[in-house]
Amino acid sequence: MLWVDKYRPKTLDHVTVHTDIAHNLKKLVKEQDCPHLLFYGPSGSGKKTLIMAVLRQMFGSGAEKVKVENRTWKVDAGSRSLDIELTTLSSTNHIEISPSDAGFQDRYVVQEVIKEMAKNRPIDTKGKKGFKVLVLNDVDKLSREAQHSLRRTMEKYSAYCRLILCCNSSSRVTEAIRSRCLNVRINAPSEEQILDVLELIGKKEGLQLPPGFAARIAEKSNRNLRRAILTFETCRVQQYPFTSKQTIPPMDWEEHISEIASDIMKEQSPKRLFQVRGKLYDLLINCIPPEMVLKRLLHELLRKLDAELKHEVCHWAAYYEHRMRLGQKAIFHIEAFVAKFMSIYKSFLIATFG
C-alpha cells in the first residue's frame, strides 16, 4: 500500500492538518443537521480525505466497504437515446461519481442518472428511513446547463439525499449552487504542516531522518501534501538510509519542461520550434494536462527572464491559456505561446545587444 493511502486519516478525530474544519464538520454530523456541502481548494490539500472521514462519521465503518462498478445508462434525449458509461464507487449508503467524465453529455448525467440515484431512498437495518449521500467530483468541470439542472435536484430530493460536491476552483461553480451548499474552503497545508506529517510518517515507519531532509521535501512539494508524501516514499525506495545531501528526484515531466524552456531560451528559430513541438507532443501523449504544461513552462521561463520581459510573457501565457480553453486542440495554443515568446525574446535580444 502506498504511504499516501496508508497514512490517510480515516476519521475526523485523526485529521492532523485541518483540525478546526474537522471539528466543525463533526459537530454538523453530530447535530443531525447536515446541509449539502461544497469542498473547494487546490489539489493535494485534503478535500477527499475530509469527505471520506465525514462519510465514516455518518455511517460508521460501512462507508469503507466500497465496490467499483462500471454501469451504462440508457438516456432518452429527445429524438434519440444515448448510452452513457460511468464509473461509480458505492457503498450501501453513498455513491461517488465524476459526472464531468461524460463530457458534453454531462447534462444528461445530472438530469437522469443523478436524479435516479437521488430518488431511491435506502432503508437502514432498523427499518427506519435512511438517507444517502451522493459525492460528486470535479463539479467545476460541469457545463453551465448541467449545473443549472443540478440545482433543481438539490432542492427536490433534499429530504433524504445529501450532496457532497468537490472541486478545485469555486469560481467555476455557479452562484445558484454555491448558495445552496455550505461552502468549505480547504487551503493547502503550510510547509510546516507538511513537515509535521512527514516526520510523523517517518517515525511510524521507523526511519532515520537526517536534519533538513524532510524540510527540503516539504519545500519542493509546492504545498501539495500528496506530492510530498509520494516524493518521500520515492526517496525511501531510491536510497536508504537517507543522507542529508540526497537529491530529491523532480517529477520527470517537470524536468522535461525545464528542458524545453532552456531549448527555447537558447535558440529562436522555426527549426527549434519544430523540435519543441515534438517534446510538447510527448508530454501531451503522456496525459499531462495542457494547462499544467503551460503553467510550468511559464514558471520555468520566468525564472530565467529579465524583469522587464516578465510582464509581457505572463500576459501572453494568460492569453493563450484562455484561448486553449475556448479551442479544441491544446497543442496549437501551447505552440503559439512558444512562438510568441521566441519572437518577443528575439526582438529583446536584438534591441539590447544589437
Partner: protein
C-alpha cells in the same frame, strides 16, 4: 437525518404588507387585493429584494391555500422552459376557464388564474451556452406574447427578472412594471436581528455591519450566510465566521496583493499570487474585491484606474470561460503593477 428548513424559506414574508422596503409596490398591490383587479405584472430588480416573495404572497392572498394549486402555475429557471413548454404547458393552463368571482373563506378569489414566470430573463441566459438557442428564446418570448393576449381574460402573468432590458419590448409593454430597490442597511439589519432573536443567535455590531456589507443589499444571501455560520460555529457568530462561510476574501489578503502591486517587484507579486491560489480563495471574488479597492485608492489617477479596470473586466470574462485562475490573476497583478508605476501599456517587444 433531516436538514432543518432553510431560513430563507422559513422567514419568507407570507403577506404582501410584510415585504420590507418596497413601499410603492406594496401600495399598488394592496389596492389590487381590495378590488381584485390586476394587470399583467413585471417585477424587476437585483436578487434578494423580494420579487418572488411578493408574487407568491399576492397569489396566496388572492386565492387562499385551497384554490392556490388550481389557480397558480409557478415556473422557474430550473424547469424546462423551451418553446414547447410555452406552447403546451402554459397554454393548457391558461386555456382552462374559471368560475366567476366568489368569496371563499375570506379570500377574494377573483376570476382569473396567475402564471408566475420566475427568472424570466434567464430564458435567454440558460441558453447562452448553446449559441443555437438564442433565437428560439426570443421566439419563446414571442410565443408568450400571443398567449398573453389570447388568454388575458382569464389569466394574469407575473414576470420576475433581474434585468428589464433582457425582456423583449412587446412583452414588457403589456405589463405594469415594478422596480424593486436594493435593501438599505437599516432595513436589512432589522430583519437580520429579528431572525437572530427567533433563532437565539448572538451577533455583535461588527458582525452585523460585516454581514450587510458582504451581502450587498441581497437579503437572501445575508440569511444564507447567517444560517451557514450558525450551523458551523454555533450561536455566537463573529464577523470572521461570516467571512469564512461567505467565501469573501479577507481584507488582509487583498491588501497584501495590492501591496505587492505597489512594490513593483514581479517575483514578489508572483509569490503572493501563488500563495493566494494555495489558500484556495476563489479568484473571481478576488477580482471583485480588487476592483473595489482600486476604485477607492487615493494615489491613482483616473487614467490608471481605468487601465486596471479594463484588465479586470477582461480577466473576469476569461474566468467565466473557464481559464486558469493562477494565470489570469497573475496577468491582472502584472497589469496593475505596471499601472501603478506608470509603465506604458504597450508591450515593448511585440511585433
Amino acid at each position: 437525518m433531516q436538514s432543518s428548513q432553510q431560513w430563507v424559506e422559513k422567514y419568507r414574508p407570507r403577506q404582501v404588507k410584510d415585504v420590507a422596503y418596497q413601499e410603492e409596490v406594496i401600495r399598488v398591490l394592496t389596492n389590487t387585493l381590495e378590488t381584485g383587479s390586476c394587470p399583467h405584472m413585471l417585477f424587476y430588480g437585483p436578487p434578494g429584494t423580494g420579487k418572488t416573495t411578493t408574487a407568491l404572497a399576492i397569489a396566496r392572498q388572492l386565492f387562499g391555500p385551497e384554490l392556490y394549486k388550481s389557480r397558480v402555475l409557478e415556473l422557474n429557471a430550473s424547469d424546462d422552459r423551451g418553446i414547447n413548454v410555452v406552447r403546451t404547458k402554459i397554454k393548457d393552463f391558461a386555456a382552462v376557464a374559471v368560475g366567476t368571482s366568489k368569496r371563499k373563506n375570506g379570500y377574494l378569489c377573483p376570476p382569473f388564474k396567475i402564471i408566475v414566470l420566475d427568472e424570466a430573463d434567464s430564458m435567454t441566459e440558460d441558453a447562452q451556452a448553446l449559441f443555437a438557442f438564442t433565437q428560439p428564446s426570443i421566439a419563446v418570448q414571442n410565443a408568450l406574447r400571443r398567449t398573453m393576449e389570447t388568454y388575458s381574460k382569464v389569466t394574469r402573468f407575473f414576470f420576475i427578472c433581474n434585468y428589464v432590458s433582457r425582456i423583449i419590448e412587446p412583452l414588457a409593454s403589456r405589463c405594469a412594471k415594478f422596480r424593486f430597490k436594493p435593501l438599505s442597511e437599516v432595513i436589512m439589519s432589522s430583519r437580520i436581528l429579528y431572525i437572530c432573536k427567533e433563532e437565539g443567535l448572538y451577533l455583535d455590531t461588527a458582525a452585523l455591519s460585516t454581514l450587510s456589507s458582504i451581502s450587498h443589499g441581497d437579503l437572501r444571501r445575508a440569511i444564507t450566510y447567517l444560517q451557514s455560520a450558525a450551523r458551523l460555529f454555533g450561536s455566537s457568530i463573529s464577523s470572521e465566521n461570516l467571512i469564512s462561510v461567505s467565501g469573501v476574501v479577507p481584507e488582509k489578503v487583498v491588501e497584501a496583493v495590492l501591496q505587492a502591486c505597489r512594490s513593483g517587484n514581479f517575483d514578489f507579486a508572483n509569490k503572493e499570487v501563488n500563495n493566494f491560489i494555495a489558500e484556495g480563495y476563489p479568484a473571481s471574488q478576488m477580482l471583485t474585491q480588487l476592483f473595489e479597492a482600486i476604485v477607492e485608492e487615493n494615489d491613482l489617477s483616473d487614467e490608471q484606474k481605468a487601465r486596471i479596470s479594463k484588465k479586470l473586466g477582461e480577466a473576469d470574462k476569461c474566468l467565466v470561460d473557464g481559464a486558469d485562475e493562477y494565470l489570469q490573476l497573475l496577468a491582472v497583478v502584472s497589469n496593475t503593477m505596471k499601472a501603478f508605476s506608470n509603465i506604458p501599456e504597450e508591450f515593448a517587444y511585440e511585433c
